[in-house]
């Protein structure tokens, strides 16, 4: 028995129905696979972003808000951390390094972050110093270049109203010192300035003790007399939005988290918060997988009924094949192979389409969430596709059995 000659006849004879079947099937599959792989990629990419921050200490409140503000730079309202926390951190031997984060100002769509050089080295791998209080380092996606001047605005203005702009602009000129390398995180959209500068433009001073202030030597800026980013127990420090902390060991990390989880502060591991968010999303993902699977099955079922209807129209042809010696089993195998081969091509084409869709959606999403989402098809996706094919192979029996059960006697009567 060799059904391929008959299959060749059907492929050619029903070339348009075959084309439509394969197209619909592959599009439905590719969308399902793209959706699931994208969800996985978002999770993975956001985990990669939060991995850069071991421990964050902020004011008590929502952990999620703290992560969104500090890790993903989604500007919201954060209470400030009392200054004595800073002094505690300065003396804590369990800390490898820590950096303050001051949020609140922005320029166009980029948040301005007041911090110290140590954070630049940790996040961007750039061993640099702020040369003066007006110096700014900009992320790779910020629309400013080295040498550019800009004036910060209070908050992130959403209106283009001239009055609002004037009212909320600080009349200080920052100058871009350098553009930072691309990291694929929301920090590519950030402008980093010395923490002292953010305090200073809000009239809080610069956080340093000035010996010459009383002698009238406080002239054009403080830069000559202070070392930016260097503070001690005597520094007149000001409140900050949060601290990013790099503990020296895992034990230290847990110790710090415990010690700074008080009435005045909260200490969180971003990765831990993300995991709890993911576990919540995990149930939704499972549900989404089932819904996708059911949708695929429904698409398959409707397509199979179309094929069955097509074969019903051509039952005379089956009668002729039976007359010239084709057995019921031969027709059963042929019809099943015909539908299954279309599904196999649909799956392969669907996975190819999914690869393209995944790249495209990743690109689209990356520009929306401002961090790099890199989705690729993995074994889970191929597993999903094979599950669809397996279900399809069973459903393909429907038109095959439809042809099998019709007796030649009945067909002869009707033609």
């Amino acid at each position: 028995m060799n059904p391929w000659m008959l299959l060749k006849a059907w492929y050619l004879q029903y070339r348009w129905p075959c084309f439509i079947f394969i197209s619909l099937f592959s599009i439905a599959l590719s969308l399902g696979v793209a959706l699931l792989s994208q969800e996985r990629a978002i999770k993975q990419s956001s985990a990669n972003v939060s991995d850069q921050f071991d421990l964050i200490i902020g004011a008590p409140g929502s952990k999620t808000d703290l992560i969104l503000d500090i890790v993903f730079l989604q500007t919201g309202f954060l209470e400030t951390v009392p200054t004595h926390v800073w002094f505690q951190l300065l003396d804590d031997k369990r800390i490898e390094w820590f950096a303050p984060i001051v949020l609140g100002d922005g320029y166009q769509n980029s948040p301005i972050i007041g911090t110290t050089a140590v954070l630049l080295e940790a996040l961007y791998g750039e061993k640099v110093q702020f040369p003066n209080m007006q110096a700014a380092f900009v992320g790779a996606n910020v629309a400013l270049n080295a040498g550019d001047y800009f004036q910060p605005q209070h908050g992130m203005l959403e209106s283009n109203d001239q009055y609002d702009m004037e009212e909320n602009t600080h009349h200080v000129n920052y100058q871009v010192v350098r553009k930072l390398p691309l990291t694929g995180t929301p920090w590519d959209n950030a402008i980093l300035v010395a923490v002292e500068a953010t305090w200073d433009i809000h009239g809080l001073g610069d956080g340093h003790t000035h010996e010459h202030e009383h002698q009238g030597e406080h002239q054009n800026g403080h830069d000559e007399t202070i070392q930016l980013g260097k503070f001690d127990q005597h520094s007149p420090l000001k409140p900050v939005s949060a601290f990013v902390v790099k503990p020296s060991s895992i034990a230290s990390a847990y110790g710090l988290r415990s010690d700074f989880s008080t009435n005045e502060t909260q200490a969180i591991f971003p990765a831990e918060v993300m995991v709890s968010l993911y576990s919540m999303m995990g149930d939704a993902r499972l549900l989404m997988s089932y819904i996708t699977l059911i949708c695929e099955a429904l698409v398959m079922l409707s397509l199979l009924f179309s094929i069955a209807a097509l074969f019903a129209l051509f039952k005379r042809e089956f009668a002729i094949l039976r007359t010239i010696g084709a057995t019921r089993n031969y027709l059963l195998v042929s019809v099943w192979l015909f539908v299954f081969s279309l599904m196999t091509v649909g799956v392969l084409l669907g996975m190819l389409l999914a690869t393209i869709e995944v790249q495209w959606i990743s690109h689209l999403l990356s520009s929306q969430v401002q961090f790099s989402i890199e989705a690729t098809l993995g074994t889970q996706d191929w597993g999903f596709a094979l599950t669809i094919l397996f279900i399809g192979s069973i459903l393909a029996l429907l038109p095959a059995l439809f042809v099998y059960q019709v007796s030649n006697e009945k067909i002869m009567q009707s033609i």
């Binding site: 006849a9 004879q13 039976r322 006697e409």
Partner: protein, 222 residues
């Protein structure tokens, strides 16, 4: 000898065919004739193993056909019968050669070389030039010749034809009749269902069917 004895066939409980006894010899040009609705096609379906009689039996030589299972009858039909239809019933998307070889793909995974050679020889003898051309590109006369080649390939012992000349002009019809008659002269069983006078006048043995009953039988009409 084909023997049909005491056979009745029904469609939806309606009696279509009632044959007390019919014996048709091998090596002759047998023709079954009668008006429309007389049961001619039903007779063909019954003797080819596609319609089991509600009573009675069909014997081919010594083989009682309906003692075989449905699957075995399909295999038997594939091996022993060559069919010719009024509307040819060739698959429109296949070439002339593939159409001829198709019934043999039911029983072979690879078509034997001898069968392929025989197909090419038959097409050549029927003046079919481009054997790889799509069947739709052949004229009606050519298509019926291709259908003849499909019926004759593999040298089946039985040739059954259902109105083989109904859609052909006189010249092509005569060619078809000659080819079918030639199969009879080879000692095969040949039965043609027709009410074409051109066929009837060349028949060796005529059965006249009326309302499912054989009314008249005549020998050596030619």
């Amino acid at each position: 000898m084909l023997t049909v004895a005491n056979a009745k066939a029904k469609y939806d409980k309606q009696l279509i065919l009632s044959i007390d006894k019919a014996e048709l010899p091998y090596g002759q040009f047998n023709v079954l004739t009668g008006p429309s609705g007389a049961g001619k096609s039903t007779f063909l379906h019954m003797i080819s193993g596609q319609l089991k009689p509600t009573q009675g039996q069909v014997h081919w030589q010594k083989q009682a056909l309906y003692t075989l299972s449905e699957s075995a009858r399909s295999h038997w039909r594939n091996k022993n019968i060559g069919f010719i239809f009024q509307d040819f019933h060739l698959l429109p998307s296949l070439s002339a050669l593939d159409n001829i070889l198709l019934p043999h793909s039911f029983s072979h995974y690879t078509i034997p070389h001898e069968l392929r050679q025989q197909a090419l020889a038959l097409l050549d003898s029927f003046a079919i030039q481009d054997v790889h051309k799509n069947i739709n590109k052949f004229s009606r006369g050519e298509r019926q010749r291709i259908a003849l080649a499909r019926a004759f390939i593999g040298s089946p012992e039985i040739i059954l034809a259902d109105e083989p000349t109904a859609s052909l002009d006189k010249e092509n019809a005569q060619f078809v009749i000659e080819q079918i008659k030639a199969q009879a002269t080879l000692g095969k069983f040949v039965l043609t269902v027709s009410h074409d006078p051109l066929i009837i006048k060349q028949a060796d043995h005529i059965l006249n069917l009326h309302r499912g009953v054989i009314q008249h039988e005549s020998m050596d009409a030619a």
